[in-house]
Symmetry: D2
Subunit: 166 residues, 4 copies
């Protein structure tokens, strides 16, 4: 009883704006995809890059923060746990599975000038599901400026529909 570690830590870029839903119980849920890039040398010694796509889900207050502050292209640190949901495929009767990272901590990386800027807001949010909660500095006035400039930086992965495992 009561033992086990199930931890995931990711640094990557959002492949999509977070989608926020409110489920019947009143709970907020946000979903988005995150790309982590890895480079390696292939057998010929050439530098290759592989992108791995992750499906992130956040709940409650953290869901709302993700929806408010994160945008496609933004670089973030995500901490959470693995969870595999299953359901019956009505077409085939097979059991099907989807693995997600249930987010418990999120941090925006880079500065406000970077990709994925929220409309009209400051950024640089940090949130941990447990404990301190979230806060934006109130004594630091928003300098405005980059509303609508949500340019996906060059680092931001451009998710291709056919490449996305979701």
């Amino acid at each position: 009883m009561a033992r086990g570690l199930n931890k995931v830590m990711l640094i990557g870029h959002l492949g999509s704006d977070p989608e926020l839903r409110v489920i019947p119980s009143g709970q907020s849920v946000a979903n988005f995809t995150l790309a982590t890039n890895e480079s390696y040398k292939d057998s010929s010694g050439n530098l290759q890059e592989r992108t791995e796509w992750h499906r992130i889900v956040a709940w409650g207050r953290l869901a709302e923060i993700c929806q408010q502050y994160l945008k496609k292209g933004r670089q973030v640190y995500i901490e959470g746990k693995l969870q595999t949901r299953s359901w019956d495929d009505t077409k085939t009767g097979d059991k099907r599975y989807a693995t997600e990272i249930v987010c418990s901590d999120m941090q925006m990386l880079g500065s406000a000038r970077e990709g994925g800027v929220p409309q009209g807001g400051g950024n640089n949010a940090q949130y941990s599901q447990s404990g301190g909660g979230y806060s934006t500095p109130s004594s630091q006035p928003q300098q405005g400026g980059y509303q609508g400039s949500a340019a996906s930086g060059s680092q931001a992965p451009e998710p291709d529909k056919d490449d996305l495992p979701f």
Copy 2:
């Protein structure tokens, strides 16, 4: 380019003995499942337990060590990265996905008296895919087997379709 973090850390118990295969290229692959347990209080305040199952895959020398030293029930620490494979479901034409943890570090936890002791061997192995590699104390002779066969390709080959999730 060249940035990103994709890390998974698990402590749990093996749900099955590792299965070792050698793929046509000569690479060894081991697969096993790992259960991580989490307890929480439900809305009525009753203690509940949830088990999450993870699909672990190890390559090369590490695969062989897993197969030799790990047994169903054994408690281990696993470090690795998330990887989602996809294939076309021939029955439906749908794209299907399976997420695995590609293991890069493994440590046996607890002592030799604990579950999952290999027949006739010592245990308490530790291995890291990168760098130092694996070693058994020299006073503890190997029971023979795969010395010298530890071919470790630079990149994981394509796992075949029979490797359905769970």
Copy 3:
């Protein structure tokens, strides 16, 4: 503002029984040392072992659990953050520093048969400072003690000067 990651994850064995103190504010504090072992090959190819000692500090309810369940020799997983305290060395006037891991999560590894079993109690505790908190299976009665006293301040108070490093 409000960004940063400061995380430590250790698996090792206690070098000493935890020492529990109650500071004037009423907060419980537990201190113990943890050894993590690493093996490597030296330049001559001989297997060497290096032990690193860590100073762990736990607060509040977690401190009490550590004191109750952990014993010298017990294998544990520790998660926490780095904190360096400083004070003036009265002998020399120099500033001195001690780095500790402030524990936020602890898990006992291995089974009850293993080293460091508390006298007369069950074991296999897991605790996370944030969220769910700690619980023993209800069928396993507590041997009395600190129910209800689990005061857990939001911030760690100032540890006193006698807490010299090691």
Copy 4:
């Protein structure tokens, strides 16, 4: 034997430019400090910020990369292990200790426009001590531009001599 986990993961800003030395054996060593920020609410409910300073040491190729690409103020992800060195204080005869993070993986966060830009080079380096090694994209010409502009971003902590535990 051969068991244990000693892992540190940090996201923070450099408090100083890395200093590179070559030790008599020919090995390169880089040292720098890293600030991780944490915000919390004090007992009065006011938002407080605490900065923790870490002493980072990198060896070999990674040391050279740190020296080349990192500058004061730059945001990075650091992975490594804890190591406490000790020596005898000749003034007092006391044993003294210093804890460092021996870096095994480093990633620059944010974009090239951010603080800590190397003179005349591109950035966005990633390096892991083990395995793949380091590489800069060669097919992506340097766009020049920000040489000498190593402005510490607003996020960059201004290390105060008296605050620095090193």
